[in-house]
Amino acid sequence: MTQQALQDEIAHLERRLRDAKARLKQSPTNDAAAFTSPSASLHALLLVADSALPLGSFAFSSGLESYLAHHKPSKPSASQLSDFHTFLGLSLSTLARTSLPYVLAGYRTPADIATLDNDLDASTPCTVARRASIAQGRALVAVWDRSFKPHYHDASVCASAAATALSLFSAALRTSGQVNGHLAPLWGLVTSMLAVPLPQAAYLFLFAHARTVVSAAVRASVMGPYQAQAVLASAELQEQMRVLVDEAWHVRVEDAGQSVPVMDLWLGRHEKLYSRIFNS
């Protein structure tokens, strides 16, 4: 490029800058009124929906890796895409039957957090699933303590009751051996303090799981990143998650249970895989 061409370009850009400044001066100043301010709950939702939330979820495939190993195609080159879709459906359905009631209970009755944590631990029959749930739950407590707490602590009376429950629980996590820190009830508790509406918190719990499994599928070379986004955007997935939240809405934690028994086997046998890229 010649000296002359560059000088022309600079002159052109300067002219555009002047024009833009002039237009800004002429424009009416009451734009802010027409613009509705995003609510605080949207902001909170964005915070917990962020895939960069440091829960370490990317380390877990929630049984996908083991499932794929148990369903090796006869030809090594064959695609496992249809198997993946079956698995995602089963996995979401299992999560909604086993864990979602604990999310709802953690949100609604924060004072019961220690019992919920114990009962969910008692209902988790394999070490692999237990490890994954606890690692993410404890990470969520850490994020709350270090990042969110100073900004949300005295938001409302309800939130402060939950906050008391959580600070007690968080202290017990460090001292008592009987406290585990499972993700589901803590997810409910933390989203209640952030004042995320419960239906959204529950939906997000499922969505985050779907996103984790889909992301694991990309890394396990089942599908490409564009296909992955298409799965997450699909109407079927949305419909399934909406119905699952709806169905779990009135399920008591005592009645949470396994609807896909072979899932426990896939998860339990993850430890027996010859090669692993995930922790679950």
Partner: protein, 339 residues
Amino acid sequence: MSFTSPFGASTSKPGQGSIVLDILPPDKPVLRTVSYQYPLKLVAPDPLPPPNYVKDADDSVDPAIPRLIHTVFLLTYGGGIVAGDSIDLHVRVDSNTRLILLTQGSTKIFKTPSPELVSRQHMTVNLQQNSALVYLPDPVQPFAHAAFAQSQVYHLEKGRGNLCVCDWVTSGRSARGENWDMYEYKSRNEVWTAEETGKRRLLVRDNLILDKHGKTEMPLSWRMDNYSVFGTVIIRGPIFSSLSKFFLDEFEALSRIGGRNWGDAVQPELLPHEQRRYERQQREKTDGLIWSAANVRGFVLVKFASREVEGSRKWLRDMMKEEGSLLHKFGERAMLCLK
């Protein structure tokens, strides 16, 4: 004129039953109560001394080993559970006693005229300290269009009872082409501990829900991944410690999934137990049996699934026999349903 029955009003309800195993001082275990109402039936054969009692008696009698082990068969009239039946059994096992519960053939669940009419079977077991229960029944076999919910709830005094219980279910009458065609099958296993303070704490909950409720559930047969049998074994307590350890060790010794034999490793001469393990693992492959074992909260939880009922039955029997302590401490009867 009204008619007044000359008999007192019955206090017992249909389907109720009670088993109390007590110690008659100084040390004789006796079945104090065995009561039942239609459609439940309980049969208690004569108790037998445990195989290890006689042997150990030569030098000194171990006070921890009871003189007799009692067995009770849980039966139903007609050999199955009909729509609307409701069974409620309470079992109490006193300190230092041991009880074996058995069934006679699979528990058949007949079809229900309407999915809302659910048959039920509840069992509550109270285990005092140092008592033990072995409950290795035949599987439950819900026929097509059956609706059934059962629960087995175990209360351990101060968490110190000993348990070895199995709960398994099959896909129905596979010979008639039934493949998980029931309306609903639910089975709940819970173990609670009662602390000195009177507070109860849940130790383990294993809740299986096979139903077609809801719009999102895929057909049951899809969810089962071509398996016809699913089961859970729950083991706890010092009496079963070597059995627990055996399951964990054998799980550890399973060959890696997706591992390959490159043919460059020299096959060493196998020790007898390694040879038996190798043969069992070959049978697992032919029977399409997969299993896992986990050590959680003081329990060993074993999950298994297989293509056919006999595959699981054979596997359970192989495992228990190979380890041997169950036979040694409770005798052949403990494994009668696995024959």
